[in-house]
């Protein structure tokens, strides 16, 4: 008898849990769907992920796209700097222009225009390119003067002229090419 009551009780709690589970399953499926599209590695872990602690030292940088670095530029302050920092705590209208600039230089190494300033490197690069092209030209001239044999007689102006005449007579490339550019009626180039 006792076992029977236990059975009916457990059955009843089962139904209850089933009712609750249905709702939970729904939200669980929804979370799984979003997790499937997410690329976060923490979500993909099927166990607890250890907490990550950033143990790196704070860096300083001058960058336009991440303008505020981890630490100020001047870490160690002289006594003069420290008193200036104390003055910074008060109303800024009491700071002179030089003091404001000094405070900026304590916090940052370069201003935005200084970061974006372009160098004169392009002059050396272009100059180097022209020098090398000139040197190559020198080598090419020297080859022509001292290395190559004389050109075949077919390169004489007279021979070339006869060749062109023969190409026109033969109607070489008459559609869009060579002979197409010659006006046969007028006897001249179009």
């Amino acid at each position: 008898m006792k076992s029977g009551v236990n059975e009916s009780l457990s059955l009843f709690t089962c139904f209850q849990m089933l009712h609750l589970t249905a709702g939970r399953v729904g939200s669980l499926l929804a979370r799984r769907a979003t997790a499937a599209f997410s690329t976060s590695s923490a979500r993909m872990a099927s166990h607890d992920v250890a907490e990550t602690t950033d143990m790196s030292k704070p860096l300083y940088w001058d960058r336009v796209d991440i303008p505020l670095p981890d630490r100020p530029y001047k870490d160690t302050l002289t006594t003069g700097d420290q008193s200036l920092k104390k003055k910074e705590q008060g109303p800024w209208s009491q700071l002179s222009k030089e003091e404001k600039v000094a405070l900026y230089r304590l916090m940052f190494s370069q201003t935005f225009p200084e970061i974006k300033q372009r160098s004169a490197e392009w002059k050396s690069v272009l100059g180097g390119i022209f020098i090398l092209i000139g040197f190559t030209g020198l080598i090419v001239w020297w080859q022509k003067a001292y290395v190559y044999p004389p050109a075949p007689r077919t390169f004489d102006a007279d021979w070339q002229a006869k060749q062109y005449k023969r190409m026109l007579d033969m109607r070489v490339n008459p559609i869009e090419g060579f002979a197409a550019k010659w006006d046969y009626e007028k006897g001249q180039w179009k």
Binding site: D158, R166, V172, P174, G177, A180
Partner: protein, 230 residues
């Protein structure tokens, strides 16, 4: 033949070459468009003053730049395959000629009706008459009737050669012990030059191919004369 400093193709002298020219225009246009777009994007990225720090990935653009190139490739492949199969169509040639590569000349045999065979050697530079083309002229040209389907059976007697005539859109390897077939129709009369296109020894650059397309009656006269001379 090409004129000095010519960069592009020669004008087509056969329907197949015309198809190849149009396909080249199509493919090159696609290449130029893609290259221009890529160059523009590179310049835009390099000269951009602002940085978006939060862009990690994007599924939409990944899909686009995967599917779009696939489509472009299909648009290139379809005309290409069309021409490939066009080359192999049955065209019932009127004339069959055998072109045999030797070191270092071509020989042509017209054996359909009678036995006609001759060698075609390059005319050396010192033997040219003024106005002739250096390294392209041959003593005997392969003469064929214009506007007739021609079959050329290409082989070699010693080493590999290749029988090529760019304006007809023909380049076929000459392999010793093997017959390769090329078919073409020459659309207009004229003289069409090509050069051996497979390295074959010391004078590989000095064995040109010269095809002369003439009206049928001229061809008949020529073949009669050649047989008499032989």
């Amino acid at each position: 033949m090409a004129h000095p400093s010519q960069l592009g193709f020669q004008d087509a002298a056969s329907p197949l070459m015309e198809e190849l020219l149009h396909f080249h225009d199509h493919a090159l246009m696609i290449v130029i468009l893609i290259s221009t777009m890529v160059l523009y994007i590179i310049v835009a990225m390099v000269t951009a003053q602002l940085t978006d720090k939060l862009v990690l990935d994007s599924q939409e653009i990944e899909v686009i730049w995967t599917v779009l190139p696939a489509i472009i490739l299909i648009l290139i492949a379809l005309p290409s395959l069309r021409i490939l199969y066009l080359m192999d169509e049955i065209n019932d040639p009127h004339l069959t000629i055998k072109a045999l590569g030797h070191q270092w000349y071509w020989s042509y045999e017209y054996t359909d009706y009678q036995d006609l065979g001759f060698d075609s050697y390059m005319i050396p530079t010192q033997d040219l008459t003024p106005g002739q083309f250096r390294l392209l002229e041959a003593d005997h040209r392969m003469v064929i009737p214009v506007e007739s389907p021609i079959r050329v059976l290409i082989s070699a007697e010693d080493v590999l050669h290749s029988w090529a005539v760019p304006s007809l859109g023909v380049k076929v390897d000459a392999v010793p012990g093997r017959l390769n077939q090329a078919t073409f129709i020459v659309s207009r009369p004229g003289v069409f030059y090509g050069q051996c296109s497979e390295i074959c020894g010391a004078n590989h650059s000095f064995m040109p191919v010269v095809v002369e397309a003439v009206p049928l009656d001229h061809f008949e006269n020529w073949s009669s004369l050649m047989i008499e001379d032989a």
